[in-house]
Amino acid sequence: MDKKILFIEDEKSLQEILGQALKQQGFEVKEALNGQDGLDLVAKFDPDLILLDLILPKLNGFEVLEKIKGNEATKNIPVIILTNLENSEDIQRVLELGAFDYLVKSNYSLNEIINKVKGALIK
C-alpha cells in the first residue's frame, strides 16, 4: 500500500511542485493550505508522515505540531518541518516539540527532500 503524506503549506506553487514530485515517487499525497485544515486532515487522512510549514494562516505550524504531538493517536507520526525561518530558537523549539527534522526550503533540492521523507518513513 502507498505511504500517505500530508503536506501543510500555504504557498500554492511550492505545494504543487513538491506534491507532484512526491506523487511521482508513488506516495499518496494530501495537501492543506492552512494550519486548521491541516490538523483536521491529520485525523481524517491518517498520514504516515507530515510535511509542515511554520508560518501558516489560522493555526501556525508550532501550534499544529504541538496539537499533533499532544494527541495519543497522532503523536508517533513523524513530522518534518519545511520552512524559511532559520533562527536557532525556532529550530530548538520545534525539535523540543518532537519534530523529526527541520529543513530550510531554499537550501534543499527536491531530491534531497524526497530522500529525507524516505529516510523518515523507514525509521
Partner: protein, 347 residues
Amino acid sequence: MRKNKEIYGIINTIQLNFIFVSKLLKIFIQQFNIVSACKNYRVKIWQCPNFLFPVMGFITILGMLTTYYLGISNDIDPYTVALMVLGISTILFLIGHFIVASFQMLAETNQIKSDFISIASHQLRAPLSSLKWSLEFLLDGRAGELGDQQKHYLEMSRQDNVHMITLVNNLLDVSRIEAGLMDLVKRPLSLKDVVTETLNDLAEYIKSQNVTMELKIDGDLPEVLGDREKIKMCVQNLIDNAAKYSLAGGKVVISIIQNKKFVEFNVQDGGLGIPKKAQKGIFQKFYRAENTKSYSVNGSGLGLFIARSNIEAMGGQIGFDSTENHGSHFWFKLPINSPAGELNLKK
C-alpha cells in the same frame, strides 16, 4: 578723529581674533572629521554625537575657566558665581540629554536596517524556493524529456537561482551577525574532512573556472573546535574567491598545517591580487576592490565579512597577504580542540 581710530583698532582686533578663533575651530572640526562622520550617519549636526561631545567639552572648559577667573577676582560675590555654575551645569545637562537621544536614534536606525534586511530576505526565500524546485522539476525530466537547448537555458536559470539564494542567505547572516544573534554549534571536528568535502562539492565548479587545485595536508592533524557548517562556508568562500580571481589556466594551492595551538588553512592563488590601497577594507561588508569590477567577477562583498565574524567567534583568526597581479594568499586558523575545550562543551 583719534577716538574713531581707536574704535577702528578695537574692531580690527576683534575681527582678527574672530578669524583666528574660527580658523582654530575649523581645524578642530576637520581634525575629528566631525562633518563627514555625521554625513555618514545620515543625521543632522545637532543630532550627531561626534559634534555634541566636543561642544560639551568646549562649554565645560569655558565654564570652568570663567568661573575660576571670576572666583579669584574679588569684584564678584560668591552667590553670583554659584548661580553661574548652576546655569552652566543646566546647559551641560541638556547637551548630555541630546547626546543620549542621538545615540538612541542611531541605534534605532541600525535596528530598522537590520530588521528590513531580515524581513526582505525571508520574503524573498519563498519565491526563490518555488523557482528552485520548479527548475529542478523540469531539469530532472519530471514534466517530460527536454531537448539539449531547453536544458541549457534552464540550467542557466538554475545557476542564477542558486546564486540568488546564496545572496539572500548571506544577507540574513549579516543581519544576524549585526544583531548579535549568530549562534555557533561548536564541536570537535577534522578540518581536513571539511576541506576535502568542500572540494568534492566544488569539483564541477572549479573545472568550469579552468583552474587546477593542489591540496597539501600535514599528516596527523589534531581536531579543531568549531561550527562545521560555518567553517565549510568559510572554506568554500576562500576557495571560490581563489578560483574566481585566478586567471584562466591558473593554479590554486590549498594547504592545511598545524601552527602551534592552531590548525591553519591556506589558499594561495596566482590571480589578480588585491591592490595595496584596497587591502584595508577587504573584510568590510559590501566591500569590493576596484580591480575586481573591471573583470566583471560576480561577488557581493559579503563572504569575507561573514567569514571573519564566524572565524573570530570560534576563537580563530583570519588574514591574508596579497600583491596586485601576483595573486593572494588567504588563511584562517582555528584553535585545536583541547581537553579544557571539551570540558567547556559539556557544561
